[in-house]
């Protein structure tokens, strides 16, 4: 039952059936062309001969017998046979060894073995039996031994051929079932491993580059992607838990110190409140990033003057930079307009600026520039800090990822994640580059009209 349900087996069985049918067609055609048609031709020839003899018969049996014997003696590819009896049934002439009693049938196949020089030659005669006008009986026939032999040979060959075909087809079906089943089992085995929780499971590839290998490569790519995604989620939730531990323990410490009776101090309570605020802003940031990433943030797209935005950001962060001894330089050129959400774009510039100030040592310079990139607009923020090692470059923007240089700096590693989310929402692209020294962040906005419109729709439809 299981075998009958197998797709590959049913496929092979169907194929075998079709092959048998085509074999039968070939054999049938051969039979028609080499047996049936020649036999009909012989029959037509015999009928014509019999007609000629009958037409020439004037009641003179002896004369007819002579003509018949002359025909039998004549050299011919197909030897002629005959029987002539008078109306009383006495044989006048024949070269047939035996014949059936008159039965009214027209055609007979008769054994017509010929003895010559003591040897016996097997012959089969196709004979037409007809009466003559005076009641005499005339049988005219020809030797069809060759056709008969051929027919017999074809018959038995067909039997063997069909039997062999069915046997081979069955064997083929079983082989195909086994071979395909083995490859499919490998795929479903891997799937079951993954279902069972082992995300490292991969479909084996046998290196032949066949259809199954291509399928396996695709499936493995999918599994790689799934594994990476799950790993990212796992890392992110681990990081959240990890990032929460420090503020939570500080919160605990402050609350313990502020507990009544133990030299309680109001400032400890404020410390506790500060820590709770930090915790809250951490959660807010995580939620905000996922809201923007999942399109649930209803962005308000309008034309935004990037130069004015940068000027505002520089104004806001100017004192902070000055306190650190870092200078800010802006070169924004002629009013570059992009299509975007003003508040989110300000958040983006603020985060980049905040990072740059954090990682630029005293005496350094941060440059904010706008250039025209083809038809688009490119925002560049570069600092003269320690930069980011190449291996960390591609992890920038990963949630909670902090480079080695950031370990001492404030923050939790969400600033660039938010930047990335905002960049994606604006259909812009972000590139990090080693500015030697320092880091250069380039964000390219598509020309107005091309960007934003699709995203606005997304954001709206995804909204609560």
């Amino acid at each position: 039952m299981k075998l009958l349900k197998s797709f590959s087996f049913r496929l092979a069985a169907t194929y075998a059936l079709l092959f048998s049918v085509s074999l039968a067609l070939v054999l049938g055609t051969y039979q028609l062309v080499s047996i049936t048609l020649p036999r009909n031709a012989v029959k037509a020839a015999i009928e014509a001969e019999a007609e000629t003899f009958a037409a020439g018969y004037r009641g003179d049996a002896r004369a007819l017998a002579r003509r018949l014997e002359a025909r039998a003696g004549a050299p011919s590819q197909l030897a002629g046979f005959h029987l002539l009896t008078d109306p009383a049934g006495h044989v006048v002439s024949t070269n047939l060894p035996s014949w059936p009693a008159f039965a009214g049938r027209r055609w007979y196949s008769l054994e017509a073995d010929i003895y010559r020089d003591g040897d016996e030659d097997d012959h089969e005669a196709l004979v037409l039996d007809r009466g003559l006008a005076d009641g005499s009986r005339l049988m005219i026939g020809r030797d069809v031994e060759e056709l008969d032999d051929l027919e017999e040979a074809i018959g038995s060959a067909a039997l063997y051929l069909i039997a062999a075909t069915l046997l081979l087809a069955t064997a083929g079906a079983l082989l195909m079932n086994w071979a395909i089943g083995r490859r499919l089992d490998a795929v479903s085995g891997t799937a079951r491993r993954v279902i069972g929780g082992d995300l490292a499971g991969r479909v084996p590839i046998n290196g032949s580059g066949d259809d199954f290998d291509r399928l396996a490569v695709t499936l493995n790519l999918m599994l790689d992607r799934v594994e990476a995604g799950v790993e990212a989620v796992r890392t992110a939730s681990d990081s959240v838990a990890h990032e929460l531990r420090t503020p939570l323990s500080r919160l605990q410490a402050s609350l313990r110190k502020a507990a009544p009776g133990d030299g309680a101090d109001a400032s400890d309570l404020y410390d506790a409140i500060d820590e709770a605020d930090r915790l809250q802003s951490l959660f807010d940031a995580v939620l905000r990033i996922s809201r923007i990433e999942s399109g649930r943030h209803e962005a308000h797209f309008a034309d935004v003057n990037l130069a004015a935005l940068i000027a505002d950001a520089v104004d806001l962060y100017g004192p902070a930079a000055e306190d650190k001894g870092v200078s800010l330089a802006q070169s924004t050129g002629d009013a570059p307009i992009v299509r975007g959400d003003r508040d989110l774009l300000f958040q983006l510039v603020a985060n980049l600026l905040d990072n740059a100030i954090k990682f630029t040592p005293t005496g350094g310079t941060i440059r904010l520039g706008i250039t025209h990139q083809g038809v688009g607009v490119r925002l560049i923020v570069s600092d003269s800090g320690h930069g980011v090692p190449a291996e960390a470059m591609e992890r920038l923007g990963e949630r909670f990822f902090r480079g080695a240089a950031a370990s001492g700096a404030p923050g939790v590693g969400l600033g660039l994640s938010l930047v990335r989310a905002i960049v994606r929402l604006h259909d812009a692209s972000i590139v990090f580059r080693d500015a030697r020294p320092g880091l250069e962040v380039g964000i390219t906005f598509q020309p107005r009209g091309a960007a934003g419109s699709a995203k606005v729709r997304d954001a709206r439809s995804g909204h609560l």
């Binding site: 400032s267 404020y270 806001l316 000055e322 989110l344 300000f346 958040q347």
Partner: protein, 226 residues
């Protein structure tokens, strides 16, 4: 003292907010669902209405729209667990005067309630603000202390003006960001503090006593020197 209507369905949050407001001497009426909240708001006059965004029966924004449609201009502060910028914009568009995301810090709420409540009495057109010896000339955008001019940047002037408008009351950092920079965003660090310290330094050049005070856990306050 202000007469405040609070429409909030979470009893714990409501109790916390009531306690905080009452400690400041405000009188609070509490309604716990949208329908009775709307009824109460339309039958009695309040100085300010605190409206939860998500309410049983009638949504907070519906109440707000209904009030505004009937010509009721009572200042409304929307409270919401949906603490995102676009939610704030929605609330303000529906006719809200201010917006606070939950969980609400009492200090932030009090500062905003004060600011909203005073809006009725303090006209925006007042040409001059006086806080002790400090005078803010809103027409000339100039500041003097005991007649001596204080040299401020445009931004510093805006900060001081906001503080002066709410003199004696707390102005939170997010209020400063919203009103002075006019961006709704989340600064990762307290960038505002550096602006305030510059403002203080400039005021200290002229004023013998400190005028801008830090209120721990809340924000800043402008107070005449003793």
């Amino acid at each position: 003292m202000m007469h405040i209507l609070l429409v909030e369905d979470d009893p714990r949050v409501a109790a916390y907010l009531c306690k905080g407001l009452e400690e400041e001497g405000h009188v609070v009426d509490l309604r716990e669902d949208g329908r009775s909240g709307l009824l109460q708001a339309s039958t009695e006059r309040y100085d300010i209405i605190l409206l939860d965004r998500m309410l049983p029966h009638v949504d907070g924004l519906k109440i707000l729209q209904t009030l505004r449609a009937t010509g009721d201009a009572t200042p409304v502060l929307i409270l919401s667990a949906l603490g995102d910028v676009d939610e704030r914009v929605k609330g303000l568009r529906a006719g809200g005067d201010d917006y606070l995301a939950k969980p609400v810090a009492i200090s932030e709420l009090l500062a905003r309630v004060e600011a909203l409540g005073r809006r009725g009495t303090l006209t925006e057109e007042v040409a001059e603000l006086r806080v002790g010896a400090l005078v803010v000339d809103r027409l000339g955008h100039a500041v003097t202390i005991e007649g001596r001019p204080v040299d401020l940047t445009a931004r510093e002037y805006q900060i001081l003006e906001l503080l002066a408008r709410h003199a004696g009351r707390v102005v939170t950092r997010s209020m400063l960001l919203e009103h002075v920079w006019n961006y709704h965003f989340d600064p990762q660090t307290n960038v505002i503090d550096q602006h305030l310290s510059r403002l203080r330094q400039k005021l200290a050049l002229v004023s013998p006593v400190p005028l801008v005070h830090t209120v721990r856990g809340a924000g800043y306050m402008l107070r005449p020197g003793e």
